[in-house]
């Protein structure tokens, strides 16, 4: 008999979540914890946390972790992986962290083809600081710093940073997925598994962008958040494989 819903070894038990109801972080955390076990990576894994809601990810993961300065996750990861290439190193970052304050670190770690994996949570808003505009905020989307909706005249356009780095020769695998229902969750797990495998195989840099719900700051119910991802967000940030150079060709 197979136990289908086993508690992941690298996911701490008896912890009260700090994430809001309907938040996508818990789902992605669970996926990562399952993969660390299934792929036998947990014992040699080091995760770099962001500044943002997931700064507290250490409460849930039972692996070695460090908390980066805002945006500097891939620089931390570069330092760790370069001096300890035997470790499995991944960052877990949000859209403000990765595509605003950490843009330079994101692009250059990708361009150097660092042998790290980046899990990029895109919820189109700054979560922890209370719902300000992110680089990924959609046009017209209301946030606390775009009270009239994001206006490109003053606020610029949604930044497609994963699409920007996907063509770089050092980026072996880039995929965008969405936490918008059971099928999306399954696809997310598959994408992160592929990205992890790229590092395990010594191929280079991999990134998975996850469109992830933030019902609190979107001021929606969790169910409506899933719907909004499917009907609105995924139209701007279309899910799919953005780069796959595992075969060697760019």
């Amino acid at each position: 008999m197979k136990l289908l819903n086993k508690w992941p070894v690298y996911y701490k038990k008896d912890v009260v979540t700090h994430y809001c109801p309907g938040c996508g972080h818990g789902i992605v955390h669970r996926i990562v914890a399952e993969l660390l076990e299934e792929m036998d990576l947990g014992k040699r894994a080091v995760c770099v946390n962001p500044a943002g809601c997931a700064v507290l990810a250490y409460k849930y993961f039972d692996i070695d972790m460090i908390e980066s300065a805002h945006g500097r996750g891939t620089a931390f990861a570069t330092g760790i992986k370069r001096v300890r290439p035997d470790l499995f190193v991944f960052t877990y970052q949000g859209d403000g962290d990765l595509s605003a304050i950490g843009t330079a670190e994101t692009i250059h770690s990708a361009n150097r083809g660092e042998h790290i994996t980046v899990i990029f949570i895109n919820n189109a808003v700054y979560g922890m600081t209370g719902g300000q505009m992110a680089p990924t905020t959609l046009l017209g989307q209301k946030t606390t710093t775009t009270p009239g909706g994001r206006n490109p005249k003053f606020d610029g356009y949604p930044l497609h940073i994963t699409d920007m780095i996907a063509p770089l020769p050092g980026v072996i695998y880039a995929e965008r997925v969405a936490i918008n229902g059971p099928a999306g969750i399954q696809k997310t797990k598959k994408a992160i598994q592929t990205a992890f495998q790229v590092q395990v195989d010594g191929l280079g840099y991999s990134i998975v962008e996850v469109l992830s719900p933030c019902p609190t700051n979107w001021k929606m119910t969790p169910a409506d958040s899933f719907k909004w991802i499917t009907e609105v967000m995924a139209k701007e940030y279309v899910p799919g494989v953005l780069s796959d150079k595992r075969g060697g060709a760019a």
Binding site: Y58, A77, G79, I107
Partner: protein, 350 residues
């Protein structure tokens, strides 16, 4: 060998296995030396996209247990301050070299000592200190770089070596110690949990009581560093009646000036702080028991002079002479100041 190359060679011999840096004059030869020699010695060199990225790579490599270094010059060191604060908070060892140049802003590329406040007062945000070594020769670059790595590891703290463009560029004979091998493993480093418990390195401590406890823990460490690691040089002080206080390049110029004025009958000596934090406070207080006159020389508008005044606690008479902006003063210039201040003292005694 140049001071910049000596920083690199000494670091490699101290077991440095990671160098992360971004080009900036007048310290480029250090990064170039590491690019050539560090990989040959089993280390990694990364030219980063910015000084900010470099110091954050240093944090990552230090967290994984390696001896690591970065270097820059004044404007670049400003960009590293975020990371230095994090290193202090994480209690991670690393060595940061600042080959100072004229400022503020881009300033220029000539030697200066205008970053004293930034180096000795922590520099970044938050309640911390950074040990600061100030070499005065290329030989001392080699010796203090080795020591800096040891102090960094012993106390788990970032350590700064504060040089200037003169020290970085000038060439002198230098002897290096034998390379260190078999450094002890760092139990606290991130290396994957293996069969044991997971490690977590945090700098966010939301609980105020916990954060306060962390702050006081750091203070106890800084007290131990102040007690055990303060370094200074006494030069011709036994019969001195006037004391020059200067560090690094300025101290060399002061020594030449002291030799000159002694020929004119001025009994001058030098107290040279080798650690700028912790500052050699007690030696200055001891001198003030028998000597009235102090002259502080700096290549700045007056920064270390504040530590001299704080150390003397109102005793003695402190004069200051500084040349900022990248101007390197001459021994003749310092001689005139020492002569003038000594004559003033003699007159006032009559």
């Amino acid at each position: 060998m140049s001071g910049n190359h000596a920083f690199g060679e000494a670091a490699i011999r101290a077991g440095c296995r990671g160098y992360f840096g971004y080009p900036i004059t007048p310290q480029n030869e250090l990064g170039e030396y590491m690019a050539e020699h560090l990989p040959q010695n089993g280390g990694v060199f990364v030219q980063s996209e910015s000084e900010t990225a470099a110091i954050n790579m240093v944090i990552g490599a230090a967290s994984a247990g390696a001896r690591v270094m970065t270097s820059s010059s004044s404007p670049g060191i400003s960009l590293k301050q975020e990371g230095i604060s994090f290193l202090a908070g994480f209690q991670l060892p690393a060595v940061i070299v600042n080959v100072m140049r004229g400022g503020p802003g881009l300033g220029n590329i000539a030697p200066a000592q205008g970053d004293y406040f930034q180096a000795t007062r922590g520099g970044g945000h938050g309640d911390y200190r950074t040990p600061v070594f100030a070499p005065g020769s290329v030989q001392e670059v080699a010796d203090l770089t080795r020591l800096a790595f040891d102090v960094a590891d012993r106390y788990r703290t970032p350590v700064m070596i504060l040089g200037d463009g003169m020290l970085g560029q000038m060439k002198e004979p230098v002897e290096f110690p034998e390379p260190l091998t078999d450094l002890p493993e760092k139990e606290w480093a991130l290396k994957g949990r293996g069969e044991g418990d997971s490690h977590y390195m945090a700098s966010l401590i939301l609980d105020v009581m916990e954060m306060e406890r962390h702050n006081w823990e750091l203070v106890r460490k800084y007290q131990a560093i102040a007690k055990n690691e303060t370094l200074y040089e006494s030069y011709m002080l036994d019969d001195a009646e006037i004391v020059a206080v200067a560090y690094g390049t300025t101290a060399r110029i002061a020594k030449a000036a002291i030799k000159r004025v002694r020929k004119e009958g001025v009994p001058a000596g030098l107290l040279r702080p080798i650690t700028l934090w912790p500052f050699p406070k007690e030696p200055l207080q001891d001198l003030a028991r028998r000597i009235e006159d102090f002259v502080v020389f700096e290549m700045s508008t007056g920064q270390m002079v504040e530590d001299v005044l704080l150390s003397l606690e109102g005793k003695g008479r402190v004069a200051f002479h500084g040349r900022p902006g990248g101007v390197v003063p001459t021994p003749v210039e310092f001689s005139r100041i020492l002569y003038r201040e000594y004559q003033r003292q003699v007159k006032s005694e009559k």
